[in-house]
Each structure stands twice: as C-alpha cells, then as structure tokens.
C-alpha cells in the first residue's frame, strides 16, 4: 500500500506493493505499441477518471464529505481549457469565443479555475457535513448543466465545442506536427497523450498518497472521524473542509482537461448527473480513503462499459445500443449499481481492502497492517448534519 509502515522502510526493504505499482506502470507504458486506437481512447478516458477519482476520494474518503458534484468540476476543467486555449470562430449564432492562449497555460488556468469554483462553493461545502453536502451538491450539477447549455458563446451550447490539441514547446499532442513513429508504430494523438496522461495520473497518485501521510492528511482524517476531536486538537475544521473541497475540485479540473483533449469534442450531456454518480461508484467500489482503490475503481467503472461495448458481439446476452434491449452501457450500470450495494454490505473497504485482506492471509501476521488508518475506516461521519 502507499502507506508503507515506517518499521519496514527502516529495514531498507523494498515494499512488494511498490514493485507491483512500478510493474503496472511499465505494463501501461508498453500498451500503445500493441493496443488498437479504440482501446487507447478508453484507456485515456480511464486515466482521466483515475485522476478525478483520486481527487474525489480525498474529499469523500479522507475528509468524509460526500459530493455528487464531481462531474460539474470536470466540466469546469474541460470547458475552461477549451475557452482559454480555443480561438473565436464560427458564423452568427454558432459563434464561440476563446482566448487563444498557449495550451499549457490554458491547462494550468483551467485547473486553477476549477479550484476557484470549489472555493466559491466553500461557504456551503465547509459548513455542511457528510450527507447534507451530498444532497446540496446535486444542485451544482443541474446549475452547471443549465450554464453549459445556455452560455453557448463559451461552451458551444447543445452541440458542444471542438477542443484544441494540447501542445508543449512546439510538440503537439495530435496526429501531426511533428509526424512521429516509435519502433515502427506511428504515434498519433492517442499514443502521444497516453504518456502525458500516465505521467499526470502517476503524479496525482503520488501527490495524493503524500497528502494522506502528511499533517494535513491526518488532520482531514480526524475531521472525518470526529469534527469535535479535530477542533479540540487545534484543527480549523471549516478551513480543512474547504481546502479538501478545493483540492478535489482541482483534481477534477485536471481530469476534465485530459478528458477534453482525449475526445477532441465535448458536449454538455457528458457532464451530467450520471458522470458524478459514476465517480462516486468508482471510489466506493475501489475503497473509500485509499488512493490505490480510487485508481482501481476508476479503471473498472470506465473500462467495463467501454470494453463490453467494443466486444458486445462476443457477449451473447448483450443487445445493440439503442435497440431498447440490454446494451453494454446499461449492463455495466447494473453491475456497478449492484456492486455498490454489495461492497457496502460485505466489503466496506472496497477493492483496496480486498487486496489488503488477501495479503494479510498470505503473510499470516498482519502486524504491519493492523494500524492502517486508510483501510480500516471506510465510513463517513454521520453524527453531525451541519456545523
């Protein structure tokens, strides 16, 4: 796990979990050489979701603040990037405006914008506890949808808007400029973005793991377990709740940018309530409070419907999309809806806890894991509704 017990690190042994993670990253790194582009797109979507889910898990799993508005902050990141990097174009009513900034600057500004949006919501997010915030945050999704549909000079309205490709120091993350082949594999948009998204995902992972281990991370966990105890210990509860919300919004913003540059065209419908609920499903199934769990959950929730969709002809009971039968998307929703229920009933620590359990059985000691705070407490606080 990311929370390597100090005792083991002192003995200078490399933790097996660390090796496993490095191995996984290496496997992901060679994927573009073998996978078809449709799977690469799914993979990029999953990596974007990994970033977003890690952010939501910091808020919901670590700080105990339920949010159903994560999709809204993804939208801010995605549309923020398009607005900052895009140029004004289009005739008459379809005219969209943009600032035409360099894409890297636009990326940073978009993430900052998502953070500012999170900060603006802090009078509510910092005062409401757990489940109250969950219902209140629903409003952001619907208000966000309204803005996306109506502010068409920025968002393109119903039909959406094209996303300018990302470019860093003259290297464009698109099919050309420059033309590029590595080991005889042509490197187009998805292959190039793959490594960037992977780097961002790994960076987000390490940052979140460090936050959890740091003083603010411990403070957030204390706020989750007991706001009163945290306040007594000198933690400014409101400020920490607000900070967790801002950080999680920035993660969502970053995820939104990756999503936007992957799909090259974004529409408001993609950022509706469904997306926010998907993110919640990711962190519940993966394991509340665990960074690795969030990543696993994200890959599962995004991967399942998309893989089923691409191979639906091989799965006998699945119908064609749009035929009214049980198509891949719906089937996947059944699966993870049921998984949310089952996870909470039988395995509250999610996939991350499952790994933990297996490892403990394997080693038969469990001494190192017994005090692991991120796995043990997978519940949100409920004693207080509002402070």
């Amino acid at each position: 796990m990311s929370e390597t017990p100090l005792a083991r690190r002192d003995r200078r042994r490399v933790a097996p979990g660390f090796l496993l993670r490095v191995g996984l990253v290496v496997i992901v790194m060679i994927m573009p050489f073998y996978l078809p582009t449709s799977l690469l797109q799914t993979g990029l979507f999953a990596m974007s979701a990994v970033v977003g889910a890690i952010g939501l898990n910091l808020l919901t799993g670590t700080a105990g603040q339920l949010s159903l508005a994560h999709g809204f902050f993804l939208a801010i990141g995605a549309y923020g990037y398009v607005y900052f990097a895009g140029t004004s174009s289009g005739p008459g009513l379809q005219k969209v405006t943009g600032l035409g900034l360099p894409p890297v600057v636009a990326l940073v500004l978009a993430v900052a914008l998502a953070g500012v949006a999170g900060l603006l919501f802090s009078p509510i997010s910092a005062r409401l506890g757990g489940i109250y915030l969950g219902v209140a945050s629903l409003s952001l999704v619907f208000i966000g949808q309204h803005i996306l549909f109506n502010a068409s000079s920025v968002t393109g309205g119903f039909s959406g808007r094209n996303v300018p490709p990302l470019a860093i120091l003259g290297f464009t993350f698109a099919d050309t400029h420059p033309d590029l082949s590595v080991l005889n594999v042509p490197f187009g948009q998805y292959e190039r973005l793959w490594y960037l998204a992977l780097a961002i995902a790994v960076g987000s992972y390490i940052f979140a793991a460090n936050v959890l281990r740091s003083r603010p991370g411990r403070a957030l966990q204390t706020v989750r377990d007991s706001a009163v105890a945290a306040a007594v210990l000198g933690v400014n509860v409101r400020r920490y709740k607000a900070a967790a919300f801002v950080l999680s919004s920035m993660y969502a913003g970053l995820a939104g940018v990756i999503y936007a540059v992957t799909f090259s065209h974004i529409v408001p419908d993609a950022f509706g309530l469904t997306l926010s609920i998907d993110f919640l499903a990711m962190i519940i199934i993966g394991g509340l409070g665990s960074v690795a769990g969030a990543a696993l959950g994200a890959v599962f929730v995004i991967g399942l419907p998309n893989l089923l969709l691409q191979y639906s002809s091989l799965v006998p009971f699945l119908a064609e999309p749009g035929s009214g039968g049980l198509d891949a998307g719906r089937f996947a929703r059944f699966v993870y809806g049921a998984l949310i229920v089952l996870t909470i009933m039988f395995q509250p620590a999610g996939l991350a806890g499952l790994g933990q359990r297996l490892r403990r059985r394997h080693r038969k000691t469990g001494a190192g894991q017994a005090g692991d705070p991120h796995i043990r407490t997978a519940q949100l606080p409920s004693s207080e509704h509002a402070t």
Partner: protein, 296 residues
C-alpha cells in the same frame, strides 16, 4: 393578473406534489437517518406501473397497483438491504441507496425508452374555469389530494401510536428502543408510507399539462430533494413548506421566462436548486431543521 393567478395556482399544486415526495423522503430520514437516494426511482416505478396498467385495468385500479408497487418496493429495500445490515452506518446506507437507484433507474428508463406514456387519468386535459382564470383539473386535484394526504399524515404522526413511536425514535433512537419501541417496525412503516406517497406524487407529476411519463420524470422527481433540504431534512412540516416554496418558484420563473431573458432558457427547472443553495448559505440546517449540537 390572470396569468399570475393561474401560475400561482399551478405553482401551489406543483408544490403539493413536491411536498408529497419530500415528506416521504423526510420520514425515511427521520426513522433511520438514511437519505433515500432511490426515492426518485420509487416514484418512477409507481408512475410506470400506472402507465402500463391503466389501459387494461382502468385508471383507479392501475393507480392502486402503482401505489402498491412502490410501497412494496420500498418495503423490500427496507427489509432486504437495511434490516439485514442493522448496526451499519446510516451514511453507508445512504450510499447503498445510490446503488439501488442506479439499478432501478437504469431498468425503468430502459423499459420506458423513448416512449411518452399517458396515464389515462379521468381529468385528462380538462380545465377548471373561475372568471377569466382557467387552471387544469389535474392541478386542482393535486391540491385537494395533496392537502388531504398531508393532513392525514400529520394527524397520524400526532395521534397514533405509530406516530408517537416514530417521533420518539427520531428524537433518540436508543432511548426509544429502551422504552420498548420496535424501531425496525417504525422504519418499515415509514418506508411503506414513503413509497406510497411517491407513487401518488408520480401520478400527478406526469399528468396534464406535462406531456406524460418519460425518461426525464426521474430527474423531475429529484427536485423534491431541494424541497426536503430547504425545510430541513428532519422536519415534515418543513418538507411541506419547502415543497410549496419550490413549486411556486419553479412555476413562476418558468411562467415569466420571457421577461427574464438573461437567465437563459429553462431556468425554471433549476430554480429549486438555486433556492436550495441560497437557503443553505443562510441556514445550513434548512428552515425548520434541528441544528446539530455537538456534545463531547
């Protein structure tokens, strides 16, 4: 002025519909502190049952079937999911309800598809005229039935032993249990009532002037969440006030949309959420909710 009165009447009527949903939401919360995120799907289930059966059974029998279907589904959720896991954290249950909602909502919207179902209700598109004002009969019926049901509900909570038991367990669950109150029976009845109210609200929510039951009905039902939060999640009278406030605000905003062009088209439908945020900024526990007091 005519327009205003018409809109006002429609708003009150929509408000009662929201109040019916919100009251169910609130009693479930009061019984076990569970936020029932599957409430919208229960409503959709009731509405869908009525829509499918009204051709064969006639409206009244279909309506009864719809109410029974929603109430049974609610009871099933309570018995199978909540009761077998007693002792778990209420917030975990609430999240579990999101899972239940995903499954129910996906199946119901799959069945509904792109259809728009009429419910075959006796009011149809007829209007009630009073002077120059004309209001759909369904709206009047919604007000009358909503008023009756909610008064009956308040009488039940005030005078019956179940009502006393429910209020006691909402006040302090442990003490209530020690006094011999069977909390799980209280909770089961709360769920059944909530399911039945949701189905009734569903019938009115999709009758004229709304086109009928379609895929967006479940989302419309979500507007009762702001109503419940607005009044305070643990206050049934708050749910009534919240519902009417939300219904009025939504209808008036939609009605005068043309005078408010800067808000964008369709602002009325997000008005409930805007109001919820405004109220929460002012009072984080809602208008009538109990302020949480932390004891160490």
């Amino acid at each position: 002025m005519t327009k205003f009165i018409e809109l006002f009447a429609s708003g009150i009527s929509l408000g009662f519909i929201y109040a019916l949903i919100a009251v169910g939401f609130v009693i479930v919360f009061k019984a076990m502190e569970v936020v029932n995120f599957a409430h919208g799907s229960l409503l959709l289930l009731g509405g869908y049952t009525v829509a499918r059966l009204s051709d064969r059974l006639g409206f009244v029998l279909a309506a009864v079937a719809g109410i029974v279907a929603s109430a049974l589904a609610a009871l099933l959720i309570e018995r199978v999911l909540l009761r077998t896991n007693r002792g778990a954290d209420p917030t975990a249950f609430s999240i579990m309800m999101i899972g239940v909602d995903i499954v129910m909502f996906t199946e119901l919207t799959r069945r509904i598809g792109s259809n728009v179902f009429g419910l075959g209700d006796p009011w149809g598109s007829k209007l009630v005229h009073a002077g120059s004002v004309s209001v759909p009969q369904t709206r009047v019926a919604a007000i009358v039935i909503g008023l009756l049901l909610i008064s009956a509900f308040f009488a039940v909570t005030k005078f019956t032993s179940w009502g006393v038991a429910m209020r006691a367990s909402a006040e302090d669950g442990e003490a209530a249990a020690l006094m011999g109150i069977r909390r799980w029976r209280v909770s089961a009845i709360a769920w059944v009532i909530a399911g039945a109210l949701a189905a009734i609200a569903g019938i009115f929510l999709v009758s004229f002037p709304t086109p009928g039951l379609d895929n967006s009905t479940g989302l419309d039902a979500l507007k009762a969440f702001p109503a419940a939060i607005l009044g305070g999640l643990d206050s049934t009278s708050g749910a009534l006030v919240g519902g009417i406030a939300i219904g009025l605000a939504e209808t008036l905003t939609s009605g005068y949309e043309n005078s408010l062009p800067f808000l964008g088209r369709g602002f009325g439908s997000i008005m409930p959420y805007v109001i919820m945020i405004a109220v929460l900024l002012w009072r984080p526990s809602g208008l009538f909710g109990t302020k949480a007091v932390a004891r160490v």
